[in-house]
Every structure is written in structure tokens, then in C-alpha cells.
Amino acid sequence: MVRLGVGVACVLAWMLCATADARPASTGFFAEGGLDAVTFLPSAKRDAATGPGLTIRVGRDLFSWLSIGGYVAASTHEATVPPPPTGQYFQLYRAGGDGRVSVPVGPASLFVEGGFGASMISSNVLDQVMITKPGKHFSATIHGGLGGEYQLENRHYAVGLALDGFIEPEFSSMKAIEARLFLRYTYGGG
């Protein structure tokens, strides 16, 4: 057990002391397209099912470790409210700006991101469970999360996985988790 502990400590020390290779990635303007799964957290979870989504993010790398961008996202969900109605769906559209701080680890990088924006819900089907209010379809959005990115052989391309949480204050502070698989393309060779 002691040997194992020493071994792990040595590996960690080596990882911390080692100099990371220069990240073989382009920096500059970039675009990302992502496929999402959005799931709501209690108490909205009982009234809205997990649904698929699509995210597009564009932005610019200010440094190799910091980028800023804007995003638009849309997801669709079944409203699992007490019947009636049954089998009805709504869409949640989100747009905003965010920042991302990356830490390169070889060809990969880990990042944390966060930002603000606005959301629109497509219908009032959640009125009956008091998540939305009559006539109110918009909310501010605050989101943040983390993820990882892997640089492909072609330095313009990277794939990644992100896990973000967001909150909609005007929709009874509805909270959700978004898991996103994305492909990133960076323009230019800087």
C-alpha cells in the first residue's frame, strides 16, 4: 500500500514538474459546432425531459490559454407536466457570450468556461407548473462548466467534451446540465 502511495506521488510529482510540450494548435478566430444533451435538475426535472440540442460557438483566442466567444444553442424537450397535455415538446433557445481558460496537457487541454446570455422558451407549456409565467418567454442565462479538448493531427481541428451547467433566473431559476461533444476549427496559423 505504501509502495503504491509512493508510486502515485512520484507520478504526480513528475507530471507537475514536467514541461508541457508546446500545444500544437492554431490560435486565432475559431468556430465550434456541438451536439448536446441537456438535462434539467430538480425541481424542473420532473416537468421537462432530457433532450438533444445543437450549439454553435464562435470566438477568438486572445492567448493560447484564454479565448472569448459567443454562442447560440437550441435544445428540444418533452414537457412531462401533469396531463393534460401529454406528449408535447418545447424548445429552449440560448445565446450569449463566454470566456474559456485552458490548461494545455500535451495534445489535449483542460478548460473551464463561463458566461452570460439570454434564453427564449418556445411555448408556455410550463406555465401550469409555474416554471414560466404567462406571457414571459425570455430569461437571462448564466452558465459555467469545464471540459477537455484534444488536438487532432491537423492543427486547425480539435474535438472536445464539455459539461456546463446553466441557470435561468426568470424561469423559476430552472437549472440544467448540458453535456456537449464538439468539433472546433481554428482559422489562421497563429
Partner: protein, 280 residues
């Protein structure tokens, strides 16, 4: 990559531009019926939901007046095709006895209310004549003891009911003729003289003098009035509860986003239609 991004943007735009539905719940909540009213008759429950239609804009009114002048007849503000309406319901059996439930769909357009309980098409003295039919529904629904059953009046059924309502009220059609035929795709209908309910016609309905004759010009589809009030009649065989919800897809942007709440919190931005009851 660029093509992929353009495709994704287009998908988002189309998704955002679709006719998003608005869901309207009746202010009174659920309906309970089927209990014994003390005389051995089961209680019947009724509910009514007026759609929150915004006041007509000046440009809409000008276009409507122009259309009316062209057609030479009244053109309604809310026409068939402006709204797609669906009614979803849930029936719960409450006292542990399996039974049957019936839901009748009636309603009103901006010209008339159709209430079959106030219309009698039976010839005088004919006690066996069937009652005047509702616009849709009146189909037995089996409900198990303590069971819950969901159902729906689909958009096409409500559209058919809207056209039937107009044919009966503006066109003087016999309700059986209107409701037993599929008319929702018709381009026009011909108004006729009112049904002759005299004793002579009751005894000899085939008499040519008792036939309904065409009256006035055909009413084109552009002048078909859409249903703007939903009336449901719930008559189960045992104690049951009905909850319903009206789903509207608004193709003209004339439904107030506030829903039924608009009648209380935004009364200046909603029309209180009060059409008269149709009498034959």
C-alpha cells in the same frame, strides 16, 4: 466546415420560426360530473373557454373590409385556417366503478354560439327523434375503475367542427348534415333556407315544399369563421373528473401571449366576443 455551420444556422432559424403553440387552461380547473344529483340523474358538467384573441389592428380591419367588399359578404376577423386548435383532456374515474364517459365539443365563432341543447330539429310530436348532435365527440370512452384515460380532439377535428358550426349557423344546414359529412376542406358552402319544422313537414318530409332551398350566394372559404370559444359538455356514467387544455397554433399572431390570464391582467388587449346563441 463552413457549409456545416451554415446548415446548423438554417436549422436553428427554421426551428425558431415554426408555429409555436400556446397552451390555454380553463380558469375553473377540472370538471366533476357523474354523481347522482338526488333525483337519480347523473350530474352533467359544462366548461367554456374563450380564446384570448387580440383586438383587430387597423391594417387587418382594412384588409378585411376590402375582402368583404370584393366578396360582397361579411368576412370574419378570425377565419378558418388562422388558428389550429387542439383540445387535450384527461378523465379520471373517482369512485371505483368502471364506466363510460362522453365529451361533447361545441362552441362559438364570432357570429354565433352553437348549443345543441337549445336547438330542436325534431318534428312536432316526434318523441323518438334523436337529440341535436354536438359538433364533435359524443363517443363512449371506457374508463376503468380508478382509471385515468387521456384523449384529444385533434386539430383536424376542431377545424371540421369550426366549418360545421359555420354551415349550421350561417348556412342554416341541418346539424346532422353538417356533422356527419367531412367538410373541412371544402372551398365554399351554399346557405339554404331554414329547416321547416311545421307539423305538415314532420308528417311528410319528402314534400318539395319542405325542402331547404339555396338562399343567397355561396360562402367562400375566405369567409369561413373560425371557432373562438370552446364549449365542452362532460357526461360520464359514474363519478369522474375531466381536466382539459386547449393548444393553439396561431398563424397570424392574433392570440394574446398571456393566455387566459389576459382577460384579467391585459383586458385592453383582448376581445370579449359575445355572439348570440343560434336559434333554428
Amino acid at each position: 466546415m463552413r457549409g456545416w455551420i451554415y446548415s446548423a444556422v438554417w436549422v436553428c432559424c427554421f426551428a425558431a420560426c415554426a408555429n409555436d403553440p400556446i397552451y390555454l387552461a380553463p380558469a375553473g380547473g377540472s370538471l366533476e360530473a357523474g354523481q347522482d344529483d338526488g333525483t337519480g340523474t347523473a350530474v352533467v358538467a359544462k366548461a367554456s373557454l374563450l380564446l384570448p384573441i387580440k383586438p383587430e389592428t387597423a391594417s387587418d380591419m382594412a384588409a378585411r373590409m376590402k375582402e368583404a367588399a370584393t366578396l360582397g359578404m361579411m368576412v370574419p376577423y378570425v377565419k378558418v385556417g388562422d388558428l389550429d386548435i387542439e383540445i387535450e383532456y384527461t378523465i379520471k374515474e373517482l369512485d371505483g366503478n368502471a364506466g363510460q364517459a362522453f365529451i361533447d365539443l361545441n362552441g362559438a365563432n364570432e357570429y354565433f354560439v352553437y348549443d345543441p341543447s337549445m336547438l330542436n330539429y325534431a318534428p312536432p310530436g316526434d318523441d323518438e327523434a334523436p337529440p341535436t348532435p354536438p359538433l364533435a365527440g359524443n363517443i363512449p370512452i371506457d374508463i376503468p375503475a380508478h382509471g385515468v384515460v387521456d384523449g384529444v380532439f385533434r386539430e383536424d377535428q376542431v377545424e371540421e367542427a369550426s366549418v360545421d358550426l359555420d354551415e349550421v349557423t350561417q348556412g342554416n344546414w341541418n346539424p346532422y348534415q353538417a356533422t356527419l359529412n367531412i367538410n373541412r376542406n371544402e372551398a365554399s358552402f351554399q346557405p339554404v333556407t331554414p329547416v321547416n319544422l311545421t307539423a305538415m313537414c314532420g308528417a311528410n318530409p319528402a314534400d318539395p315544399a319542405c325542402q331547404q332551398m339555396p338562399m343567397g350566394p355561396e360562402i367562400p372559404r375566405k369567409a369561413f369563421a373560425e371557432m373562438i370559444r370552446i364549449d365542452l359538455v362532460f357526461h360520464p356514467s359514474s363519478h369522474m373528473e375531466l381536466e382539459f387544455n386547449v393548444r393553439v397554433r396561431d398563424h397570424r399572431g392574433i392570440v394574446n401571449d398571456m393566455g387566459e390570464q389576459a382577460f384579467m391582467s391585459d383586458p385592453n388587449n383582448v376581445v370579449m366576443f359575445m355572439p348570440p346563441y343560434y336559434a333554428n
